[in-house]
Amino acid sequence: MSEEKKTFIDRIWDIFASVKFAIVIFSLISLTSIIGTVLEQRAEPERNINILTRLFGESLAPSLYNILEKLGFMDMYHSWWFITLLILFSANIIICSIARLPRILKLIKEPMKPMAREHFETAPIRREIVLKGKPDKIKEAVASSIRAIGFNFSESKEDKGYQFYAQRGNYTRLGVYLTHLSIIFILIGALIGIAFGYKGYLNLPEGRTAVAFRFSPPSGPIDEMNLERILNALEASWGDISKASELLNMKEKKLKEILRKNGIQPLGFSIRCEDFDVEFYENSNTPKEFKSWLTVIDGGKEVVKKSIEVNDPLSYKGTTFYQASYGMIPNAPGWFVLRLTSKSGSSEIKRLNFGEKFVIPYSNIEGTIRDFSPALAFDKEGRPFTFAEMMNNPAVFIDFKEAGRDKYSGWIYKRYPLTGRLPEGHIVEFLDLWGSQYTGLQIRKDPGVWIIYLASTSMTVGLFIAFFMSHRRLWVMVIEDRGNTKVHIAGVSNKNRPAFERKIGRMISLIKERQQGGK
């Protein structure tokens, strides 16, 4: 087709099919992404104005910020132009692949043919050996050696001899396509996740049950009355949306819409945090692990109980709960959980309020919780103080009395059970301040994630094929030459020629070996 006859669409097609276009897109995505890594994404404006001030000075920063803000750089990976770039990138991959596919398919499907004698002289890999004896005698040694290096050959009769020809790995030419296709599927998986999935955070206090969580700030004015009614109904029906809509006499669709407008996503079931605990490394404020004990309640029944921690989430009906963070609830009405073990070894667990009395079993020693600190430490003068807002080193101060008379008092630490050993041999362990902490859960539903996993696997396979396997073609001609036999070998490999050369070398030594053995 000549240049003038090309239609507009053809031209667009040609642009998209060119590697140059791919390179332009690669560069654009990379260069704009760099800006996105320097500017903090979805951050407070001050942070980025600060960054810009440090880079370009105080006078330029505010106006620069406004320009960049308008262009969407403050949330650039979700901006229309970045998504357009990603779409162009996918279009480029697809069209490039389609444009080159017919030629590649032809190369793959093309059956092997014997090679003309003169082409043996010009093949990329060429070898020649001379063996004693007639071709008929040598033929078998050659054939078995070709088989030994893994080629299934065809055979043809030549003038004064034979030719064997074979190919391997013709389908490895598709490795690149598998890789490209996988990239497209990764993007499709991501789109499915964006379209049909959701993501949000939920701070769930110990002992509380949730039926919904917030995924974004409300859009538009909030109808508090209605929202509360819906949430109450949802709670009453353990998160079951259809039951809640029956209770409210409201259409399910309408109910969901109201929630969506308020930025709230119903779970469809309910989840309860039974307990939360942080474990620290010895003598350190580095958390070793933090754990939530969760219960899923569906249709009023407890269906799953599982403890989750970072790197070990809980999944139920496509929704996954990840351990993300934790914290203290200020002024929460918590229960002090103590284990009281008497000298004789009998023990019981007590849940107590602040200031509540307890008695150690089989004794007349009674205790009262007088003080609590989530993170107890002592200053130089030996005065207690709280060094952190989180439960880094929780401790209770307990007054002990015997028969109404003051006996002794002191701090008992959760992290150091030995502090609760009383002189008489009884043990008071501070197990938990239950109800005072919340677990920070990241909640996600992503129906596209399995596509991404599959596509990642096929991409790996595709890359492996593309880089480490090759399409190899081999021709071996066995021809009588002045009473002896000349073996001409020609080989073509679309990549990693040295490896194929080594393989051919091995074949040659096999031929020689077998020929001698056959004598």
């Binding site: 590697v19 990379s30 890594t37 993501k199 994630v449 480490f468």
Partner: protein, 361 residues
């Protein structure tokens, strides 16, 4: 004896090897070359022992089990592992191609990395693992990423050598490019050497700063020193540019064809790229998905590894464009390694994000 003794020995060995390799490049004395290789191998063994010992020490402290105690959890340990991979990769290349001249280009990268540890005063302590890092993916993700980085470092060195021997005129863009790159590299090496001499060798007790990177040059308190540093930088780059052709004749004497250099560059990238894709990007995404519930969140580390990936993808594709083989692709290979450095160090030192384990502290 603990691992730090062996780390110290290997650092010394590599820095000495670097000097000997450069001497070897200048004088081409065969026994000098053998000494360089021997010292490198000795350093490598010592480093291997050190890594294994630290692994054991870590395991004893954390009690997490062997697989989760790989010493790959902070910047210090990762640099050590990077250097280990790099030296291993280099030794493979040296034995395969029977050519020692690459040593003078690879060992300085190792030397620079190790000097960086001391000069920045980064923490060498064994820190217990925070919950996010307690995963079996840690070993796979980090080792594969660093194997890929080391492969890319080799392609950087050979790509640079390719440019050096294939440029003639001083006003050629490719010539200016390599002269500038090598110049910057030399400036970094020299300024870090000066940092080391002023603060480590001639310690002044009143100086209690931990991080003295560039404190003796570009970030010195005195403005005069800063100005001199910048002037010297420009002059060093100028000198490299002016006398670069000497380097060309030196390398040419070693009978390295540009074909071999191109081949090594390509092969390192062909090995590094799939490993990086699988270990760095895919395993990283799977791990993030399990730990945080997002397989991709456009945090700076992720974005920069994507940029790196794009540059090497660009390299692999640009070889297919007619007329792009040779110098232009070598430039892409060199640029790719800059992206690797930013992904690896720049993000942790300059930008914030989820991957904050690698901070200097």
């Amino acid at each position: 004896m603990d691992s730090s003794v062996f780390f110290g020995l290997s650092t010394m060995a590599y820095i000495i090897a670097m000097i000997i390799y450069i001497t070897y490049l200048a004088f081409r004395n065969k026994s000098v070359g053998i000494v360089a290789t021997t010292i490198t191998i000795a350093g490598f063994f010592s480093q291997t022992i050190a890594i294994l010992m630290r692994w054991k020490e870590f395991n004893d402290i954390s009690g997490m089990g062997f697989l989760r105690s790989a010493p790959l959890t902070n910047l210090y340990e990762s640099i050590i592992f990077f250097v280990w991979c790099l030296i291993l990769g280099y030794l493979i290349v040296e034995f395969r191609y029977k050519n020692r001249s690459f040593g003078a280009f690879v060992t300085p990268v190792a030397g620079l990395a190790l000097a960086f540890i001391d000069i920045t005063g980064m923490s060498k302590e064994i820190h217990p693992l925070i919950p996010a890092l307690q995963s079996n993916w840690l070993l796979a993700h980090v080792t594969m990423s660093f194997i890929a980085y080391a492969a890319f470092a080799i392609s950087f060195s050979t790509g640079l050598m390719y440019l050096i021997i294939n440029t003639e005129k001083k006003n050629q863009p490719a010539y200016i490019f390599w002269a500038f790159t090598l110049g910057v590299f030399a400036v970094l090496l020299i300024s870090m050497g000066i940092d080391f001499m002023t603060f480590k060798v001639a310690v002044r007790p009143e100086e209690f700063i931990k991080n003295y990177l560039f404190r003796a040059s570009f970030m010195n308190k005195s403005a005069a020193v800063r100005i001199i540093s910048w002037i010297s930088t420009i002059s060093i780059i100028f000198i490299v540019w002016r006398f670069g052709n000497i380097l060309k004749t030196v390398i040419e004497k070693f009978n390295i064809s540009s074909q071999i250099l191109d081949e090594i560059t390509y092969k390192s990238i062909a090995i590094g790229f799939p490993i990086f894709t699988l270990g760095g990007l895919i395993f990283g995404a799977i791990w993030a998905d399990q730990a945080w519930g997002t397989y991709w969140s456009w945090d700076p580390k992720e974005t920069w590894s994507l940029i790196t990936w794009f540059i090497y993808a660009f390299y692999l594709h640009s070889r297919m464009i007619r007329g792009w083989r040779g110098k232009r692709v070598a430039i892409v290979a060199v640029l790719g390694f800059f992206a690797v450095i930013v992904t690896y160090l720049g993000v942790n030192l300059l930008l914030s994000g989820l991957h904050s384990y690698g901070e200097l502290k």
